[in-house]
């Protein structure tokens, strides 16, 4: 592999990075929203969300991307590739994140909640001031796991023509008939991207351990 190949790999890495980054950011928040809605147990909506989470988790990403991209025009919304990709990744990751957040909700210390309510805090205030700060750190391993999965499964978006990191390696190996070197190089770049996340998690955890939570 020459310098030009590395340059292309880096370009692919950037595509992977920004598309996953946007999806992660939206997905984490939407997941939180879904978890909150599910905690409210609104009759019909709850069933709907359960079905969504279940289906979105079970659907392979490739299928989802392709479906959104191809069915988009039929449904009257012409999605650009990037939008379709981000939408698919977000739909997928939000379902997983919803479960992670929900897990934090249901296992949150009942004693602490009671202490907050007894002080006259509303549920919202309790959530914002007592629960969320602790959930952020306690859910971190789960959330970062999910982020790593999202980044790693992002190659699926290549199916609609986005040139992400994995696509670049396919292009290279299609000419050289040597799949291993570009795959290893791409693996290295993936590890670099996810490594940054793991590093951030470690830092946050160190900070939280001061609070012994």
């Amino acid at each position: 592999m020459n310098g030009q190949a590395w340059l292309l790999l880096l370009e692919g890495a950037w595509t992977t990075l920004w598309i996953s980054g946007v999806s992660i950011a939206i997905g984490v928040l939407v997941g939180l929203g879904i978890a909150l809605l599910r905690m409210a147990r609104i009759p019909f909506l709850d069933q709907l969300l359960v079905t969504y989470v279940s289906l979105a988790r079970a659907t392979p990403l490739v299928t989802l991307v392709l479906f959104l991209f191809l069915a988009g025009p039929t449904l009257g919304l012409g999605l650009s590739r990037e939008t379709a990709a981000i939408l698919a990744l977000t739909l997928n990751t939000a379902a997983f994140n919803a479960e992670i957040w929900r897990s934090a909700f249901i296992s949150f210390s009942r004693e602490q909640k009671e202490a907050a309510l007894a002080c006259g805090m509303t549920n919202r205030l309790f959530f914002r001031r007592i629960m969320l700060p602790q959930m952020l750190t306690s859910s971190l391993p789960g959330l970062v796991n999910e982020m790593s999965f999202l980044i790693k499964s992002s190659p699926a978006i290549a199916v609609i023509g986005i040139v992400d990191l994995t696509r670049v390696t396919n292009r290279i190996s299609a000419v050289t008939y040597e799949p291993l070197p570009p795959i290893l190089a791409a693996g290295l770049l993936y590890m670099l991207i996810i490594g940054i996340l793991l590093r951030l998690q470690a830092i946050a955890e160190k900070k939280a351990s001061r609070l012994a939570m």
């Binding site: 991209f69 191809l70 023509g161 040139v163």
Partner: protein, 267 residues
């Protein structure tokens, strides 16, 4: 699926959207970030040709996995890539006049002397792409082998060819079947590892898939192909990219299974 546009719509829109691949040497692939290959060269001619009809050609690059589905669903007007003609694809697509033969050949490790003539393939492990045109026509090889008293060995299906070649080199496979153009390209790229074998099927064709409901577009493509054939440009490009020119290709579009079988001598 309404986004399909026949020629009239294309002209109204001002451009034709074609889908190409990026990892299918020698038809179309990417070198240093830029498209290369047979189709890249032919696209120049096609663009000029289309300009005369008053529209532009826009090329989008997708992986093979999503390509046929995207064309079928109308995201693109046609596939501008080396799709092999098969019975099942003919149910959804018409094919423009072919630009290359896709007769199937086997490839073996260089220096593997246990393989030579077709009979020697008997009982050996073969690798091919799952669901490919190659797989669809494997029965022809089976018949050849059985005619000589041999039998088809274990068939291993892979999602794509790079892995198949890797396993051939690793020794997990004894031989691989692919279309002649691909085999030529492979052997050119890695002459010290692989060696080209013999044909293992009747004639086959690589051509552009066009949705069934775009007859006008198909007509236009037929005219174009006949033009480049007549001018010798096609033969020149075939020589350049495939290492040989295919002079006896049909000049008519392939639109039915029956027609295809006649052309390819399949009974």
């Amino acid at each position: 699926l309404t986004a399909q546009a026949d020629l009239a719509d294309v002209k109204a829109r001002g451009y034709l959207a074609v889908a190409t691949e990026d990892d299918y040497a020698p038809f179309n692939f990417i070198v240093d970030g830029k498209p290369e290959g047979f189709h890249k060269d032919l696209l120049e001619d096609f663009k000029a040709f289309a300009g005369k009809s008053g529209f532009d050609v826009r090329q989008e690059i997708l992986p093979w996995t999503g390509l046929l589905a995207s064309v079928a669903s109308g995201q693109y007007d046609m596939g501008y890539t080396g799709a092999l003609v098969t019975d099942d694809r003919l149910r959804v697509f018409n094919f423009a006049p072919p630009f290359a033969s896709a007769q199937h050949y086997y490839v073996k490790r260089k220096g593997d002397d246990s393989i030579g003539d077709i009979a020697s393939l008997s009982g050996k492990t073969v690798g091919l792409q799952a669901g490919s045109a190659l797989l669809a026509r494997l029965p022809e090889l089976k018949k050849m082998l059985e005619a000589g008293g041999g039998k088809l060995g274990k068939v291993v299906e892979y999602p794509s060819y790079p892995e198949i070649y890797a396993d051939l080199a690793n020794g997990r496979l004894d031989y691989v079947v692919n279309s002649v153009t691909s085999v030529n390209d492979l052997v050119k790229a890695k002459p010290e590892v692989f060696a080209k074998g013999l044909p293992v099927s009747g004639n086959g064709f690589a051509a552009w898939p066009v949705p069934k409901n775009s007859p006008e577009l198909l007509k236009l493509l037929t005219t174009f192909m006949q033009e480049v054939h007549a001018s010798g440009r096609l033969a020149e490009l075939q020589q350049k990219w495939f290492g040989e020119s295919f002079d006896d290709l049909p000049l008519e579009p392939i639109t039915s299974v029956k027609q295809f079988h006649e052309l390819a001598n399949i009974e």
